[in-house]
Structures are given as structure tokens and as C-alpha cells.
């Protein structure tokens, strides 16, 4: 709890921005971004590009994924445990849009863990904070999110 870990997100590119935009059918962004690139102008990332990316690791081989398909890095504090993880929600603050060509660092920490009791049983609510910064330390985006940890036998919870 409270231990910050840095992850190198690499140098973000117009290609990554445009693939993200294509996946959400934002063709207007695609046109604008490629036009700016062609004109030699800076290209900003889609607003939630950093916040939506689950991991910046290369990722493990398939045999090392959990049965639900997640990598260990994406199941904080629960590695090896027979639990289900669902996303409770997210709060994203945008300070400065990252530009293509910027090297980005993500610093993440577990900031809270609470045992809760709901209608269908006990669960644990994890709070995670991630801060994305540029090489000069400028904050680009900050994300607070909650992850709900459920017993494997429970079905039909939120996303």
C-alpha cells in the first residue's frame, strides 16, 4: 500500500493514437491527426488514450496469463488467488495532452483496500492511482480507479 512503481510507457506515436481512434470509430480524429502530422505540426493524443491503456508492458506469454486472460500486472495484490476482478469505476484528470514523440512514465500505487459487505456477499475494494508524466516531470493525466475483488464462485457482477 502506498508504494509507487514506475512503468516506462515508451514514446507515444501518431500510429498508436490513430489505432486507438479507429477502434472507437473516431474518424474525425484520424483525419485531423494525419493532416497535422503531414503538415509537421504536433499531434495530441486522444483525451483518454493514456487512461484507457491497461498495461504498457510487452506482456507475458499466453501460458503465463491467468485463466481470465489477465496478466499478473493487471491483477494487483491478488496474484495466484482464486478471485475475480471487476472494474468499479474511474476518475480521470487531464492536465496536458501528450504529444506524439513524448516519452511517458506511468507511476502507480495501491492507495486503499477496504473490505465491504454487499447484498450478495463480501468483497474487497481496491483503490489505485496512476500518474502519467513526461520526461520533465509534468503531469499529463492522473487516474484514480477502483477494482472490485470477488470470490470466484460469484457471478454476474459489474464490468
Amino acid at each position: 500500500m502506498g508504494r509507487w512503481e514506475d512503468e516506462d510507457c515508451g514514446t507515444v506515436t501518431v500510429k498508436e493514437f490513430c489505432r486507438y481512434a479507429a477502434a472507437v470509430d473516431d474518424v474525425d480524429y484520424l483525419r485531423r491527426a494525419r493532416a497535422r502530422e503531414a503538415a509537421g505540426e504536433p499531434v495530441e493524443a486522444p483525451p483518454l488514450f493514456l487512461a484507457a491503456t491497461m498495461s504498457w508492458e510487452d506482456g507475458p506469454a499466453e501460458e503465463e496469463l491467468r485463466p481470465d486472460g489477465l496478466a499478473a500486472r493487471e491483477s494487483p495484490c491478488t496474484q495466484g488467488l482464486p478471485v475475480r476482478l471487476v472494474h468499479g469505476g474511474q476518475s480521470v484528470r487531464l492536465t496536458r495532452a501528450p504529444l506524439a514523440g513524448t516519452r511517458v512514465t506511468a507511476s502507480r500505487a495501491l492507495v486503499s483496500a477496504e473490505r465491504k459487505h454487499g447484498r450478495s456477499g463480501d468483497f474487497v475494494l481496491l483503490g489505485l492511482t496512476t500518474r502519467y508524466t513526461s520526461p520533465d516531470g509534468t503531469e499529463l493525466t492522473a487516474v484514480d480507479e477502483t477494482v472490485v475483488v470477488l470470490d470466484v464462485l460469484r457471478k454476474g457482477a459489474t464490468t
Binding site: 498508436e16 489505432r19 486507438y20 479507429a22 477502434a23 472507437v24 470509430d25 473516431d26 483525451p47 483518454l48 487512461a51 484507457a52 491503456t53 491497461m54 498495461s55 504498457w56 506482456g59 496469463l65 481470465d68 486472460g69 489477465l70 496478466a71 493487471e74 475475480r84 471487476v86 472494474h87 468499479g88 469505476g89 474511474q90 476518475s91 480521470v92 484528470r93 487531464l94 457471478k155 454476474g156 457482477a157 459489474t158 464490468t159
Partner: protein, 141 residues
């Protein structure tokens, strides 16, 4: 936004669905390999009728429609949301928003929207708010 926003204004709703292909592509670009988002058999084993819409895709949709409503010179300041129920591929969804606050700021006007994603039965699956800044006294985009 056809005129300067006022508290209580209701934004025109947007109806949409997320296809299985979109969920797969969004999972790929966001490096989210949770099987619940692309493996219908696995999703069924978890009690869902189809593959599940990613939480971050809901956030993306909340934001995008808010920005489209506000016009091309609007800028996203923050967005937050809470998942209250699951939505699946092919399910009719509706983006709904109401202006909660309007306040002057250095760059113009700061507008906060209360936003929801509603399922076809009208119950929300996501609730939250979006903060935008818009140039003052702007009109239709």
C-alpha cells in the same frame, strides 16, 4: 451545444451499440486481454449474455459524446464514472446528459455534465460526470 449552456439543460440523447468487433479492437489497442471482452463462451460462464463492454470504453463514450455536444473548441478537463451494471455487445445503449454547473474560468466557461449510459429498459449501467471548458459565448459548432 446550440447556445450557451445553462444549468438544467438536457443534452440530446445519443443511441448506439458496441459491436463484438469494436470490443475486440478496443481490447487490442488498450492491451486488455480479459476474456470476458472477446470470448463469448467465457462471458457466458460468468453469467453474461454476450461479451462485456469494457469500463474504459464506457468512459471513452461518455467523453466523446460530451465533447461532440459541446463543439469543436471544447476541451476535456476531467471525467469520472462508476459502473453500476454490465452492458454487452449488441445491446442498445443511450448516452444521456444534463448540465449540472456552468461557471466562468480563465479560458471561457467551465461546464459540468451529469452523464449516464442507459440500457434499453432505462436503467443506468454507468453514471458519472464530465468537466469541459468551452470558449465563452460560443454558439453552434
Amino acid at each position: 451545444m446550440n447556445s450557451p449552456a445553462a444549468v438544467g439543460d438536457v443534452c440530446p440523447p445519443r443511441r448506439y451499440t458496441h459491436s463484438r468487433v469494436q470490443l475486440f479492437r478496443f481490447g487490442a489497442v488498450s492491451w486488455n486481454s480479459h476474456r470476458i471482452h472477446y470470448d463469448a463462451e467465457f462471458a457466458a460462464s460468468e453469467g453474461f449474455s454476450d461479451v462485456v463492454v469494457q469500463s474504459t470504453l464506457h468512459g471513452q463514450t461518455l467523453t466523446r459524446y460530451a465533447l461532440e455536444w459541446a463543439g469543436s473548441d471544447a476541451c476535456l478537463e476531467s471525467v469520472s464514472w462508476r459502473n453500476v451494471a454490465t452492458a454487452v455487445a449488441g445491446e442498445p445503449l443511450t448516452w444521456s446528459a444534463t448540465v449540472r454547473t456552468v461557471a466562468p474560468c480563465d479560458s471561457g466557461v467551465r461546464v459540468t455534465l451529469d452523464v449516464s449510459v442507459l440500457r434499453d429498459v432505462g436503467a443506468p449501467c454507468v453514471t458519472g460526470h464530465v468537466d469541459l471548458t468551452c470558449r465563452a459565448a460560443r454558439t453552434s459548432p
